[in-house]
Assembly symmetry: C2
Homo-oligomer: 371 residues x 2
């Protein structure tokens, strides 16, 4: 008897994995499936649901999912699976409110692709369903979870000072097939087009830079580009805060891959040019110029900007899954409440996006941001 | 006799130096005086003119000017100096039209500090005077002459493709003394404030990126910052071209030193973050991302951006002086006509600046750019 190890106390047992159901086999779901495998043992892929079981089976095989993963031929069946704790939902935006609220109503925690909804009132329906069921909500904005993001956030107050001017640019050059057929250019699927897809990141980055203080108003840039169906494929806006801060962003499906965030403050300037997806998976560079002066006779800069590189063992999307799992485990196993920070950030992003869309629709008038 | 070297043929003699008169002892004139010494033997500082001979003497001593440099106690006296070929004119902007036209009328070539004039019609008076006298005109926008600028220009068509979106940011954080006393915040001296000082560079960079095609209209960003005298100390604008290109700039005396030019095209993206004054005097970095794609599963970029560094033996302001001297020597010694490229670029910059100022004055209305 003395040779038998004592049973571990309950609080010392490793938490059980969060069992994910992947709801839809979109291209982006492949990246998340890999992230869930990388995030083991916190995460496990328990099930895949698609409009046909054959599609779910193909997805499971293509993405190396465990043989035990259950394959469901409908989203309903996935939501009825009692061995699913949480859903990852990458469906077209127009389906989010229906399926995210259904998932929450069945007690599933919700990791929702961006843009989270077509408008803030749809998002509010989703958030209300999550709150009513006591489940965690998080949007799938991966770069938020890269350790670089935390490092930049840490440096901003001392090295950049009072943030005054922000610029964010996100574009990629879509090919002809994308511009004709991708869900992101279809009015019935992703009516926000490039604003919802790429603009989401710019708006989030701007809000991140000001610690999520909402702007007071936004004015869309004139002359956005729309496709024949009226869906935005290039647009931008300027955001204004009560204290004089301002931010400009531009997003496009028509120009070369660009992911810039520039934050200028009274004391410094932050530059990052791959903020959404780092150039390399395991490291993220950025630079900070702080208290930059002209050299004697204005022949150079003193000091020069500092270059930083933040490394990570796990890619940012796996870190996102892990953080989501930590919160879900706290609720499921520890009686914790859902973390309110994530839905609050989501909602602010959506509210600003709504205001930009309204400004475009109103002929580039100033639109107040109403929280 | 056979041991005597033959006299060189006239066309083989090195050109005589261009004899500069420095007209005013502004702080920036110190940088140019050094540039003229570095640009020897093409350039020589022949004279300094100031409102007092004592100031001119102090300037000559402080800046290591040759003992032979003549010291004039008035601008008139400098212009009457027959041994001055060209003037460098760093006076406050409100004095440019008077003194640049006077210099041209006396047959002096004109290297003029920016902003070149308070408005395009004043500039036109200067350019007309230069044309009437057959003298060379050039504005003192130094970065145009860095070999990095030529290298970036060379790469743009193939590596960036059709330019669609440009962003330029130039700010420096002025101290309290500057904000109270510098000529650039005084309505009677530099009425364009930060727009003329820092905005000039942004506008020039934007025009450079599109090979000097004028935008069709501009819209100033709302909520510029003005000082108590009504002079702009932070402002910005968006520029629109007929083919859908757009550019945004922001300039400020209130935030950390920032000198960004970002050019996004169909095929690539150019980033330079010290375009006006390189971090180090003898090298200029920039990066180009060309035909950037997402890596498999969107876990990185393929290819990654290329980093470039262009070195130079002489600082950009000395290269500017050398180029100006080359043109002046061609006119003075070789019967050439003045080079029309430089005044044409100056005028386009001024015309866009005028339109931005008009948009601010008209409450941020769209203002057509009239060439």
């Amino acid at each position: 008897m003395s040779s038998a190890a004592p049973a571990p106390a309950p609080e010392e047992q490793p938490p059980r994995p969060v069992r994910f159901g992947i709801m839809g086999c979109a291209s982006i779901a492949r990246k998340l499936a890999r992230a869930m495998l990388l995030a083991a043992p916190a995460a496990a892929v328990a099930a895949v649901g698609s409009r046909s079981e054959a599609k779910a089976r193909l997805f499971a095989a293509d993405n190396g999912l465990p043989a035990a993963a259950r394959l469901h031929g409908s989203y309903e069946a996935l939501l009825d699976d009692p061995a699913v704790d949480a859903v990852y939902l990458p469906l077209p935006t127009s389906l989010h409110v229906q399926w995210a609220t259904a998932a929450a109503a069945r007690g599933k925690h919700v990791l929702l692709e961006k843009p989270t909804a077509l408008c803030a009132s749809d998002l509010d329906a989703i958030l209300a369903a999550c709150e009513a069921s006591g489940v965690q909500f998080m949007d799938s904005t991966m770069w938020m979870h890269h350790p670089r993001t935390a490092k930049m956030r840490e440096l901003l107050p001392a090295d950049v000072g009072d943030v005054r001017v922000i610029n964010s640019l996100f574009s990629f050059r879509a090919n002809e097939d994308f511009l004709q057929n991708d869900i992101r250019v279809k009015p019935d699927l992703d009516a926000l087009g490039v604003l919802g897809d790429a603009g989401w990141y710019c708006i989030r980055a701007i809000l991140w830079a000001v610690d999520y203080e909402l702007p007071k108003n936004v004015i869309a840039l004139p002359e956005p580009v729309k496709n024949q169906a009226g869906v935005l494929i290039a647009c931008g806006a300027t955001l204004y805060w009560a204290d004089g801060k301002m931010a400009t962003f531009h997003c496009s499906f028509l120009t070369n891959l660009t992911m810039d965030l520039t934050v200028i403050g009274t004391d410094g300037t932050l530059h990052v040019t791959d903020f959404i997806i780092p150039y390399e998976e395991k490291s993220g560079p950025f630079s900070v110029a702080s208290r930059s002066n002209f050299a004697e006779l204005h022949t150079g800069w003193v000091p020069q900007p500092s270059k930083h590189v933040v490394t990570t063992d796990l890619p940012q999307e796996a870190l996102m899954v892990k953080e989501f799992c930590r919160l879900v485990q706290g609720i499921r196993d520890g009686g914790a409440k859902p973390e309110g920070k994530w839905p609050a950030i989501t909602r602010k992003t959506q509210v600003v996006m709504d205001a930009v869309k309204a400004s475009i629709d109103k002929g580039f008038e100033s639109v107040d941001v109403v929280s």
